[in-house]
Amino acid sequence: MKRKADFMMQQVGGERLLVPLGAQVMNLNGLLTLNETGACVWERLAEERSMDDLVAAVAERFAVSDATARADVQTFVGEMTRLGLLER
Protein backbone atom coordinates (compact mmCIF):
# COMPACT_ATOMS: atom_id res chain seq x y z
CA MET A 1 0.00 0.00 0.00
CA LYS A 2 1.02 3.61 -0.50
CA ARG A 3 -0.42 7.00 0.45
CA LYS A 4 -2.02 9.30 -2.09
CA ALA A 5 0.26 12.10 -3.22
CA ASP A 6 -2.24 14.93 -2.85
CA PHE A 7 -2.05 15.28 0.91
CA MET A 8 0.73 16.83 2.92
CA MET A 9 1.52 16.50 6.60
CA GLN A 10 2.16 19.89 8.18
CA GLN A 11 2.99 20.91 11.73
CA VAL A 12 0.63 23.76 12.56
CA GLY A 13 0.35 25.12 16.08
CA GLY A 14 2.20 22.06 17.34
CA GLU A 15 -0.34 19.67 15.77
CA ARG A 16 0.40 17.36 12.86
CA LEU A 17 -2.32 18.04 10.33
CA LEU A 18 -2.99 16.22 7.09
CA VAL A 19 -3.65 19.00 4.63
CA PRO A 20 -5.53 18.10 1.45
CA LEU A 21 -4.51 19.57 -1.91
CA GLY A 22 -6.43 20.15 -5.13
CA ALA A 23 -9.53 18.03 -5.66
CA GLN A 24 -9.06 16.31 -2.29
CA VAL A 25 -10.15 19.51 -0.51
CA MET A 26 -13.67 18.93 -1.76
CA ASN A 27 -13.68 15.24 -0.84
CA LEU A 28 -12.71 15.67 2.78
CA ASN A 29 -14.75 17.21 5.53
CA GLY A 30 -12.40 18.89 7.96
CA LEU A 31 -8.77 18.37 8.76
CA LEU A 32 -7.19 15.23 10.14
CA THR A 33 -4.78 15.29 13.05
CA LEU A 34 -2.12 12.58 13.29
CA ASN A 35 -0.66 11.20 16.49
CA GLU A 36 2.95 9.97 16.61
CA THR A 37 2.11 6.50 15.35
CA GLY A 38 -0.02 7.90 12.55
CA ALA A 39 2.75 10.31 11.54
CA CYS A 40 5.32 7.49 11.50
CA VAL A 41 3.09 5.30 9.30
CA TRP A 42 2.18 8.22 7.03
CA GLU A 43 5.85 9.05 6.42
CA ARG A 44 6.66 5.42 5.59
CA LEU A 45 3.75 5.25 3.15
CA ALA A 46 5.47 7.70 0.80
CA GLU A 47 6.78 4.44 -0.71
CA GLU A 48 4.95 1.17 -1.35
CA ARG A 49 4.88 -0.76 1.97
CA SER A 50 3.45 -4.02 3.24
CA MET A 51 1.62 -4.30 6.55
CA ASP A 52 4.68 -6.15 7.95
CA ASP A 53 6.99 -3.25 6.93
CA LEU A 54 4.79 -0.78 8.79
CA VAL A 55 4.47 -2.97 11.89
CA ALA A 56 8.26 -3.44 12.06
CA ALA A 57 8.82 0.33 11.71
CA VAL A 58 6.35 1.21 14.47
CA ALA A 59 7.61 -1.55 16.81
CA GLU A 60 11.19 -0.31 16.43
CA ARG A 61 10.41 3.41 16.61
CA PHE A 62 8.25 3.23 19.74
CA ALA A 63 9.86 0.20 21.38
CA VAL A 64 6.59 -1.76 21.56
CA SER A 65 5.77 -5.40 20.87
CA ASP A 66 4.84 -6.53 17.37
CA ALA A 67 1.33 -7.31 18.58
CA THR A 68 0.83 -3.79 19.95
CA ALA A 69 2.33 -2.22 16.84
CA ARG A 70 0.16 -4.37 14.56
CA ALA A 71 -3.02 -3.36 16.40
CA ASP A 72 -2.11 0.35 16.13
CA VAL A 73 -1.11 0.13 12.47
CA GLN A 74 -4.24 -1.80 11.53
CA THR A 75 -6.42 0.80 13.23
CA PHE A 76 -4.65 3.64 11.45
CA VAL A 77 -4.58 1.97 8.04
CA GLY A 78 -8.25 1.09 8.41
CA GLU A 79 -9.08 4.74 9.10
CA MET A 80 -6.93 5.94 6.18
CA THR A 81 -8.64 3.41 3.89
CA ARG A 82 -12.09 4.54 5.03
CA LEU A 83 -11.17 8.15 4.26
CA GLY A 84 -9.72 7.26 0.87
CA LEU A 85 -6.19 8.41 1.65
CA LEU A 86 -4.43 5.30 0.37
CA GLU A 87 -3.75 4.04 -3.12
CA ARG A 88 -4.63 0.39 -3.26
Partner: protein
Protein backbone atom coordinates in the same frame (compact mmCIF):
# COMPACT_ATOMS: atom_id res chain seq x y z
CA UNK B 1 1.13 52.37 -29.40
CA UNK B 2 -0.26 54.44 -26.52
CA UNK B 3 1.76 54.82 -23.35
CA UNK B 4 0.39 52.44 -20.73
CA UNK B 5 -1.02 53.76 -17.50
CA UNK B 6 0.92 52.98 -14.35
CA UNK B 7 -1.52 52.34 -11.51
CA UNK B 8 0.32 51.35 -8.32
CA UNK B 9 -1.93 49.85 -5.64
CA UNK B 10 -0.70 49.20 -2.13
CA UNK B 11 -2.66 46.80 0.07
CA UNK B 12 -1.22 45.60 3.39
CA UNK B 13 2.24 46.76 2.33
CA UNK B 14 2.07 44.65 -0.82
CA UNK B 15 2.69 46.86 -3.85
CA UNK B 16 0.75 45.78 -6.94
CA UNK B 17 2.37 47.58 -9.87
CA UNK B 18 -0.49 47.56 -12.34
CA UNK B 19 0.15 48.64 -15.93
CA UNK B 20 -2.73 48.91 -18.36
CA UNK B 21 -3.64 50.53 -21.68
CA UNK B 22 -6.79 51.70 -19.85
CA UNK B 23 -6.87 54.20 -17.01
CA UNK B 24 -8.20 53.31 -13.56
CA UNK B 25 -11.45 55.08 -14.45
CA UNK B 26 -11.79 53.13 -17.71
CA UNK B 27 -11.12 49.90 -15.82
CA UNK B 28 -13.86 50.89 -13.39
CA UNK B 29 -11.63 50.27 -10.36
CA UNK B 30 -11.52 53.77 -8.89
CA UNK B 31 -14.37 53.17 -6.45
CA UNK B 32 -12.99 50.02 -4.85
CA UNK B 33 -9.26 50.33 -5.32
CA UNK B 34 -8.95 54.13 -5.34
CA UNK B 35 -8.49 54.34 -1.55
CA UNK B 36 -5.60 51.87 -1.92
CA UNK B 37 -3.84 53.70 -4.77
CA UNK B 38 -0.21 54.28 -3.83
CA UNK B 39 0.83 57.92 -4.12
CA UNK B 40 4.04 58.78 -5.92
CA UNK B 41 5.79 59.22 -2.60
CA UNK B 42 4.51 55.92 -1.18
CA UNK B 43 6.22 53.46 -3.49
CA UNK B 44 9.22 52.91 -1.25
CA UNK B 45 9.95 49.80 0.79
CA UNK B 46 6.91 47.61 0.31
CA UNK B 47 7.27 44.19 1.93
CA UNK B 48 6.70 42.61 -1.48
CA UNK B 49 5.75 43.53 -5.03
CA UNK B 50 3.68 42.10 -7.85
CA UNK B 51 4.10 43.21 -11.46
CA UNK B 52 0.60 42.99 -12.94
CA UNK B 53 -0.24 43.72 -16.56
CA UNK B 54 -3.82 44.13 -17.72
CA UNK B 55 -4.68 43.15 -21.30
CA UNK B 56 -7.83 43.39 -23.36
CA UNK B 57 -9.07 40.36 -25.25
CA UNK B 58 -11.44 40.52 -28.19
CA UNK B 59 -12.96 37.13 -27.32
CA UNK B 60 -13.58 35.29 -24.05
CA UNK B 61 -10.14 33.97 -23.08
CA UNK B 62 -9.66 30.20 -23.04
CA UNK B 63 -8.02 28.35 -20.14
CA UNK B 64 -4.59 26.84 -20.63
CA UNK B 65 -3.01 23.79 -19.05
CA UNK B 66 -4.34 21.16 -16.70
CA UNK B 67 -7.17 21.79 -14.22
CA UNK B 68 -5.69 21.39 -10.72
CA UNK B 69 -8.30 22.97 -8.45
CA UNK B 70 -11.96 23.78 -8.76
CA UNK B 71 -13.36 25.12 -5.51
CA UNK B 72 -16.80 25.46 -7.05
CA UNK B 73 -16.70 29.24 -6.90
CA UNK B 74 -16.10 31.89 -9.52
CA UNK B 75 -12.59 30.73 -10.42
CA UNK B 76 -10.82 27.54 -11.42
CA UNK B 77 -7.06 27.02 -11.23
CA UNK B 78 -4.96 25.42 -13.98
CA UNK B 79 -1.26 24.60 -14.17
CA UNK B 80 0.38 25.58 -17.45
CA UNK B 81 4.04 24.56 -17.39
CA UNK B 82 5.57 26.37 -14.44
CA UNK B 83 2.81 29.03 -14.46
CA UNK B 84 -0.58 29.10 -12.82
CA UNK B 85 -3.61 30.09 -14.80
CA UNK B 86 -7.00 30.93 -13.30
CA UNK B 87 -10.22 31.38 -15.24
CA UNK B 88 -12.84 33.67 -13.76
CA UNK B 89 -16.53 33.73 -14.58
CA UNK B 90 -19.41 35.16 -12.60
CA UNK B 91 -22.82 33.59 -13.04
CA UNK B 92 -25.57 35.76 -14.39
CA UNK B 93 -28.85 35.02 -12.56
CA UNK B 94 -27.95 31.37 -12.14
CA UNK B 95 -26.83 31.01 -15.78
CA UNK B 96 -23.20 30.10 -16.29
CA UNK B 97 -21.39 32.50 -18.58
CA UNK B 98 -18.27 32.30 -20.75
CA UNK B 99 -14.93 32.94 -19.10
CA UNK B 100 -14.66 36.66 -18.45
CA UNK B 101 -11.08 36.82 -17.28
CA UNK B 102 -7.88 34.82 -17.40
CA UNK B 103 -5.21 35.37 -14.78
CA UNK B 104 -1.75 34.00 -15.50
CA UNK B 105 0.83 34.10 -12.71
CA UNK B 106 4.34 32.79 -12.37
CA UNK B 107 5.30 30.29 -9.68
CA UNK B 108 6.13 32.99 -7.13
CA UNK B 109 3.01 35.05 -7.87
CA UNK B 110 5.08 38.20 -8.26
CA UNK B 111 4.47 38.51 -12.00
CA UNK B 112 0.98 38.22 -13.46
CA UNK B 113 -1.15 39.08 -16.48
CA UNK B 114 -4.91 39.57 -16.34
CA UNK B 115 -6.65 39.20 -19.69
CA UNK B 116 -10.27 40.27 -19.83
CA UNK B 117 -13.04 40.45 -22.35
CA UNK B 118 -14.59 43.91 -22.06
CA UNK B 119 -18.27 43.82 -22.68
CA UNK B 120 -21.00 46.39 -22.78
CA UNK B 121 -21.79 49.49 -20.80
CA UNK B 122 -21.01 49.53 -17.12
CA UNK B 123 -18.24 46.98 -17.56
CA UNK B 124 -15.80 46.78 -14.65
CA UNK B 125 -12.52 44.91 -14.45
CA UNK B 126 -12.41 41.74 -12.35
CA UNK B 127 -9.60 43.45 -10.45
CA UNK B 128 -12.52 44.82 -8.39
CA UNK B 129 -13.62 41.31 -7.52
CA UNK B 130 -12.22 37.80 -7.72
CA UNK B 131 -9.13 38.50 -9.79
CA UNK B 132 -7.86 41.28 -7.57
CA UNK B 133 -8.56 39.29 -4.47
CA UNK B 134 -6.95 36.11 -5.78
CA UNK B 135 -3.77 37.98 -6.73
CA UNK B 136 -3.64 39.72 -3.36
CA UNK B 137 -4.33 36.73 -1.14
CA UNK B 138 -1.73 34.61 -2.95
CA UNK B 139 0.99 37.23 -3.44
CA UNK B 140 0.89 38.26 0.23
CA UNK B 141 2.00 34.75 1.25
CA UNK B 142 5.59 35.43 0.19
CA UNK B 143 5.95 38.26 2.72
CA UNK B 144 4.49 36.33 5.67
CA UNK B 145 0.88 37.46 5.22
CA UNK B 146 -2.41 35.62 5.31
CA UNK B 147 -5.96 36.72 4.49
CA UNK B 148 -8.61 35.59 6.94
CA UNK B 149 -12.39 35.41 6.50
CA UNK B 150 -12.86 38.03 9.16
CA UNK B 151 -13.90 41.51 10.13
CA UNK B 152 -11.45 43.84 11.80
CA UNK B 153 -11.30 47.07 13.70
CA UNK B 154 -8.82 49.35 15.41
CA UNK B 155 -9.85 49.94 19.02
CA UNK B 156 -7.80 52.95 20.02
CA UNK B 157 -4.56 51.47 18.69
CA UNK B 158 -5.37 47.79 19.27
CA UNK B 159 -6.26 45.74 16.22
CA UNK B 160 -8.98 43.16 16.85
CA UNK B 161 -9.89 40.60 14.20
CA UNK B 162 -13.17 38.66 14.40
CA UNK B 163 -12.92 35.43 12.45
CA UNK B 164 -15.86 33.40 11.26
CA UNK B 165 -17.66 31.77 8.37
CA UNK B 166 -20.58 33.57 6.75
CA UNK B 167 -23.29 34.25 9.31
CA UNK B 168 -21.00 33.95 12.36
CA UNK B 169 -21.47 37.61 13.29
CA UNK B 170 -18.45 39.35 11.75
CA UNK B 171 -20.42 42.33 10.46
CA UNK B 172 -22.49 42.46 13.66
CA UNK B 173 -19.33 42.94 15.73
CA UNK B 174 -18.10 45.79 13.54
CA UNK B 175 -21.54 47.40 13.79
CA UNK B 176 -21.58 47.13 17.59
CA UNK B 177 -18.06 48.52 18.02
CA UNK B 178 -18.23 51.30 15.46
CA UNK B 179 -20.22 53.53 17.84
CA UNK B 180 -17.40 53.48 20.40
CA UNK B 181 -15.10 56.52 20.61
CA UNK B 182 -11.73 55.90 18.97
CA UNK B 183 -12.81 52.79 17.05
CA UNK B 184 -12.06 52.54 13.32
CA UNK B 185 -13.92 49.83 11.41
CA UNK B 186 -11.44 48.40 8.89
CA UNK B 187 -13.32 45.72 6.97
CA UNK B 188 -16.30 43.42 7.52
CA UNK B 189 -15.17 40.37 5.51
CA UNK B 190 -11.47 40.23 4.57
CA UNK B 191 -8.57 41.19 6.84
CA UNK B 192 -4.91 40.57 6.09
CA UNK B 193 -2.55 39.73 8.95
CA UNK B 194 1.22 39.51 9.06
CA UNK B 195 3.97 39.32 11.70
CA UNK B 196 6.37 42.12 10.79
CA UNK B 197 9.63 43.44 12.24
CA UNK B 198 7.70 45.67 14.64
CA UNK B 199 5.22 42.94 15.61
CA UNK B 200 1.93 41.53 14.32
CA UNK B 201 -0.19 43.87 12.16
CA UNK B 202 -3.71 43.65 10.73
CA UNK B 203 -4.81 45.47 7.59
CA UNK B 204 -8.06 46.41 5.93
CA UNK B 205 -8.42 45.23 2.32
CA UNK B 206 -10.57 46.55 -0.54
CA UNK B 207 -12.93 43.56 -0.36
CA UNK B 208 -15.67 44.10 2.18
CA UNK B 209 -18.77 42.02 2.80
CA UNK B 210 -22.43 42.92 2.87
CA UNK B 211 -21.78 46.10 4.85
CA UNK B 212 -19.11 47.03 2.25
CA UNK B 213 -16.71 48.34 4.88
CA UNK B 214 -13.29 48.38 3.25
CA UNK B 215 -10.97 50.97 4.73
CA UNK B 216 -7.28 51.36 3.94
CA UNK B 217 -6.18 51.22 7.55
CA UNK B 218 -3.67 49.20 9.58
CA UNK B 219 -3.32 48.55 13.30
CA UNK B 220 -1.03 46.56 15.60
CA UNK B 221 -2.75 43.19 15.95
CA UNK B 222 -3.76 42.53 19.55
CA UNK B 223 -6.00 39.46 19.21
CA UNK B 224 -7.61 37.02 16.81
CA UNK B 225 -11.11 36.13 17.97
CA UNK B 226 -13.00 33.15 16.55
CA UNK B 227 -16.74 33.90 16.67
CA UNK B 228 -19.54 31.58 17.66
CA UNK B 229 -23.11 32.66 18.21
CA UNK B 230 -24.45 31.60 21.59
CA UNK B 231 -27.10 32.46 24.15
CA UNK B 232 -24.52 33.54 26.74
CA UNK B 233 -21.41 35.70 26.43
CA UNK B 234 -18.09 33.98 27.17
CA UNK B 235 -14.53 34.37 25.95
CA UNK B 236 -11.74 31.84 26.40
CA UNK B 237 -8.14 31.68 25.18
CA UNK B 238 -7.31 28.97 22.66
CA UNK B 239 -3.99 27.15 22.66
CA UNK B 240 -2.23 27.14 19.26
CA UNK B 241 -3.10 23.46 18.73
CA UNK B 242 -6.80 24.20 19.18
CA UNK B 243 -6.65 27.46 17.22
CA UNK B 244 -4.77 26.05 14.20
CA UNK B 245 -7.58 24.02 12.60
CA UNK B 246 -10.13 26.76 13.33
CA UNK B 247 -7.99 29.40 11.62
CA UNK B 248 -7.14 27.11 8.71
CA UNK B 249 -10.80 26.53 8.01
CA UNK B 250 -11.37 30.30 7.98
CA UNK B 251 -8.29 31.40 6.03
CA UNK B 252 -8.02 31.80 2.25
CA UNK B 253 -5.44 29.15 1.46
CA UNK B 254 -3.75 28.13 -1.82
CA UNK B 255 -4.99 24.54 -1.82
CA UNK B 256 -3.93 24.15 -5.45
CA UNK B 257 -0.16 24.03 -4.84
CA UNK B 258 1.96 22.26 -2.23
CA UNK B 259 4.78 24.85 -2.19
CA UNK B 260 2.38 27.78 -1.70
CA UNK B 261 0.50 25.79 0.92
CA UNK B 262 3.73 25.16 2.87
CA UNK B 263 4.40 28.87 2.80
CA UNK B 264 0.90 29.59 4.08
CA UNK B 265 1.31 27.07 6.90
CA UNK B 266 4.65 28.62 7.88
CA UNK B 267 2.94 32.03 8.03
CA UNK B 268 0.12 30.60 10.12
CA UNK B 269 2.64 29.08 12.54
CA UNK B 270 4.39 32.43 12.93
CA UNK B 271 1.08 34.17 13.56
CA UNK B 272 -0.02 31.53 16.09
CA UNK B 273 3.28 31.90 17.94
CA UNK B 274 2.91 35.67 18.26
CA UNK B 275 -0.80 36.50 18.43
CA UNK B 276 -3.23 35.41 21.15
CA UNK B 277 -6.32 33.60 19.82
CA UNK B 278 -9.66 33.48 21.65
CA UNK B 279 -13.01 31.82 21.14
CA UNK B 280 -15.88 34.24 21.70
CA UNK B 281 -19.36 32.87 22.23
CA UNK B 282 -21.70 35.79 22.24
CA UNK B 283 -25.07 37.35 21.71
CA UNK B 284 -25.20 40.34 19.34
CA UNK B 285 -25.16 42.97 22.09
CA UNK B 286 -22.94 45.78 23.32
CA UNK B 287 -21.88 43.91 26.48
CA UNK B 288 -19.46 41.99 24.27
CA UNK B 289 -17.28 45.08 23.93
CA UNK B 290 -16.34 45.29 27.62
CA UNK B 291 -15.88 41.51 27.70
CA UNK B 292 -13.39 41.62 24.82
CA UNK B 293 -11.61 44.68 26.19
CA UNK B 294 -11.21 42.91 29.53
CA UNK B 295 -8.82 40.37 28.00
CA UNK B 296 -6.75 42.76 25.87
Amino acid sequence: MATPHNIPIRIANLLIELTSPLSAVELGIEGRLGPFRAEEGALENPLSRVALRWEDSKNPPAPQGELIYDPGSIWKMYRAGSDFCATLAYENQGQSVPVQGLLRANRAWDDAILTEHRSGLGWQSLLNLGAGELIFRTAILSSGGLVLHSSGLDDNGKGIVFIGHSGAGKSTQVGLWSHEPGVVAMNDDRIAVRVEAGGPVCYGTPWGGTAEIARNHAAPLAALIVLEQASENAIQPLAPAAAAPLLMARAFLPYWDAALMQRAMANLNTILARVPVYRLRCRPEGAVISLVRSIL
